[in-house]
Amino acid sequence: MPRAGLESVLSKTLNELWDRMAAFAPNVLAMLVILAAGALVAGAVHLVVRFGLSAVGFDRFASRSGVRTVLERGGVARPASSVVALVLAWTVLAGFVILAIGALDLQIAVDLLSRGFLYLPQVLIALALVTFGTIVGAVLRRSVLIAAVNAGIPLARGLAAGVQIGVLILFAAMALEQLGVGRQIIVVAFTLLFGGVVLALALAFGLGGQSLARDILAQLAHRGPAAPADDARRHL
């Protein structure tokens, strides 16, 4: 009995599993087909949009209207038509992925999707904030770095990094706020981090500043203000 029993239990379980998988297989197959179709359609959209747009002179329009400029500032070097085509293609693909997950007909997938849809606006806004903050931070870091080096400020890199981190923290906090993550936590974390950064900067400047201050004082004492002694820097 135990032997037969074990066998029958095993085979029963396996059979059930098999049946389930067999029942589920069409769904998986459907999902794969949908994904494949999605990839094809997205690829086609990309090609058509890319060449269609550049054929009608969209890139020229983009550089004249300043769209190009904005992209370049964000570090995007590809032509505007290619950017639009990529965004559209990915959107199409995302639609197909959602369909594909739906095809699995799993309760959990359905739940995830519907909750995701409810939460989507906040997530998008948060993502946009983080993206924007990253760009602003990088741009500011670069400008501060160049200006500081040109002005001969020591620790230019530290200063620039500090500015960038400050900007990132600011935007990250705003993004978290959007997602509704506990406010108190954010405020406390922000204060701690920001305070830390400021303290670090102050220390850095204090330490690096000693020699700077010494130089400046020495300069003042020996030959008056340094600026006018430097004319060749300024003539065309």
């Binding site: 070097a77 080096v149 430097d230 004319d231 820097r233 300024r234 065309l236």
Partner: protein, 422 residues
């Protein structure tokens, strides 16, 4: 075209009152009260002495000076040049004082001057800086004469300057203009020019007045446009250029970026011309070159070098965006070397690399141009050390050697330009 340039009502009324003129001299100014009086008197005297029969007007285009510059211009002894001169002005010289619209800058001031020249139908025009200490009445004849009598359209100045004055001209703008467009104009951004009424109208018609041309890019833009558009260009020897030290508040980075981005923008506009241009040819010269004494320009080599060396440590990531890999490696390797030298061919590659980067993505290249400042300071420090004991002729020789390096490297520029800088 000048209809598109807004002029204030008083100026429009003055133009209507004056009617037409033969000659116009423009003076842009911004806080130059201590020197502009001398400039205006020199201009008045020059007009009276050399063009006594011409109807002439002197236009001061002021950028909102707060030191009383317009008052000095208004009061400058103008109708009584007799004390100064043998000849008297037979027809009256008029004076127009005008503010200008648009971006604040020297270029916007010039635009207003061009518009007034067009409306008054001036045949020959000149512009002179208001911070000049060495201008003489003869300059008026030298800048206007070739236009009026020889049918030239553009007269570039040629002066003797102290070896450390005009380093942007000597290390970038002069050699570039010569190598690219094949015209050996020694002072393409001197600031004092003569030009025909025809050329003034052409300038006005160009859609550049919201770019760096409205600021310090104006000089190189005028010169390059005249050359590349096939106008007849000559030079006039004016003697010494002695002018005020720059306002210490003025930012080198701003000026350098304005001038250099104008040069690079023009390379885009006139690509066909510079790629097809022949080797450099001399440009006709008026006047009698002679030696002069010059005021020394002080420099601080240590500070320039310190900035360059710091940048070689801290700005590599920015330079990387525009400099070719080899160029970057060679530049960074210079920093620790003693004695410090920035070789001509390397400097030329730096400038050409940046031109290509600007061509590929003008906006993304903006920070890159600001990051050119320490490179330029390094190159200038090297130049100062190399010429520490040199006389004028030897310095000129060294500048010419650099200019030739620009010419020899032109194939490198063309190759990278065509390859899109990859």
């Amino acid at each position: 075209m000048s209809a598109r340039v807004p002029l204030v009502p008083e100026v429009r009324a003055r133009i209507a009152e004056i009617g037409r003129v033969d000659l116009l001299v423009g003076i842009p100014s911004y806080n130059n009260a201590s020197t502009v009086g001398h400039v205006v008197r020199a201009v008045a005297a020059g007009l009276a002495k050399y063009f006594p029969h011409a109807r002439a007007v002197c236009v001061n285009s002021d950028g909102g000076s707060t030191d009383g510059t317009p008052r000095v211009v208004a009061e400058a002894g103008f109708s009584t040049p007799g004390a100064l001169l043998v000849t008297h002005q037979l027809s009256p010289v008029h004076k127009i004082l005008t503010p200008y619209h648009g971006l604040p800058g020297k270029g916007s001031a010039f635009r207003t001057i061009f518009a007034i020249a067009e409306q008054l139908g001036a045949r020959a025009c000149a512009v002179v800086d208001s911070d000049l200490r060495s201008i003489t009445p003869e300059w008026v004849e030298l800048l206007l004469g070739p236009v009026l009598q020889q049918d030239f359209d553009y007269v570039a100045p040629l002066y003797l300057r102290h070896k450390y004055d005009g380093t942007i001209t000597n290390s970038i703008v002069y050699p570039m203009t010569r190598a690219l467009y094949g015209a050996d104009v020694r002072q393409p951004i001197g600031g004092d020019f003569g030009f025909s009424g025809r050329l003034a109208s052409y300038y006005l018609s160009r859609p550049v007045w919201d770019t760096s041309v409205a600021r310090f890019g104006i000089d190189i833009w005028m010169t390059t446009t005249a050359i590349a558009e096939g106008f007849r260009v000559c030079q006039a020897f004016l003697g010494a250029k002695i002018h005020d030290a720059k306002d210490p508040g003025a930012d080198l980075a701003d000026m350098l970026v304005q001038v250099v981005s104008s040069v690079f923008d023009l390379m885009g506009t006139y690509e066909r011309q510079w790629r097809g241009a022949d080797g450099p040819v001399p440009v006709p010269l008026f006047g009698f070159p002679h030696g002069v004494g010059l005021e020394p320009v002080p420099v601080d080599v240590e500070r320039m070098l310190a900035t360059f060396r710091q940048a070689a440590r801290d700005l590599r990531e920015i330079w990387e965006l525009g400099l070719a890999r080899d160029t970057l490696a060679d530049v960074v390797a210079l920093a620790p070397a003693e004695p410090f030298r920035f070789p001509d061919p390397l400097w030329v590659r730096v400038v050409y690399d940046l031109a290509v980067a600007h061509h590929r993505a003008p906006v993304a290249a903006q920070p890159l141009l600001r990051a050119l400042v320490p490179l330029y300071l390094g190159r200038t420090a090297s130049f100062v050390m190399e010429t520490a004991d040199s006389g004028a002729a030897e310095v000129e020789h060294i500048i010419r050697r650099l200019a030739d390096a620009y010419v020899s490297a032109k194939p490198y520029l063309v190759a990278r330009w065509t390859a899109g800088g990859r």
